[in-house]
Subunit: 132 residues, 2 copies
């Protein structure tokens, strides 16, 4: 129900492996995007008039039924990637750029200082092999 508590809960883990809790939170967010239909939904909504769209605008171009589209939209809203705004009979959905940025920051950290950054890209192979 809650979108995402914290996408980088462990700022001190820059040089330490991610905790199981942090990994679970992150995986919840990435699972929401790891679906072809939902990716197309996000793209369709972003490319739509005014950056928002209702369900009836998305059902046909996706080739999925209305309940399925509604289900995917709920997943995206729960993940904090979309906002739902019900006006009259229609429900308008719009992207939340901040959430995308936070996820992007985690991934781009591979070449920066995040959880996927290599402290020593090439060197100190003295103890390579670890405890063996």
């Amino acid at each position: 129900m809650l979108p995402i508590t914290d996408l980088s809960p462990t700022g001190s883990l820059v040089r330490e492996p991610m905790t199981a809790e942090a990994a679970a939170d992150l995986s919840r967010a990435f699972k929401a995007i790891a679906d072809p239909g939902r990716l197309r939904l996000l793209s369709l909504i972003a490319a739509h008039q005014g950056g928002e769209a209702c369900v009836c605008d998305l059902t046909e171009p996706l080739g999925l039924t209305q309940p399925t589209v509604s289900h995917h939209l709920k997943v995206l809203v729960d993940a904090g990637l979309l906002t739902r705004d019900k006006r009259g009979v229609w429900a308008f959905f719009a992207v939340v750029p901040a959430t995308f940025d936070r996820l992007a920051a985690v991934l781009s950290s591979a070449t920066g200082s995040g959880p996927f950054a290599s402290p020593d890209p090439a060197g100190s192979r003295a103890s390579a092999g670890g405890t063996h």
Copy 2:
């Protein structure tokens, strides 16, 4: 088997919705990251000595069996997120920053010019509601 053909196959779709093929490619990449164990694996490898680690270094901190860890590593290698380098009896895995950057670029495009960018964040609501 092939890592990822192209993470942004449709550069011209900046203002057009993503194609089904592009969405399928992207979802394959994100599915690889959308798992708590694999996220921790990536983090563990990046934080390890020299930015690389073998299976035996990862089994115990993850709390998963060796076949399961090996399976996850294969998924990550197939997605182009890790490289495998077999030296002697050990197989060393290292992160591929370029792949992370490409995925991050797709997500950060929500506030830029990518597939998730809103052409008109607030305005031109004249035709809001589309065909209704």
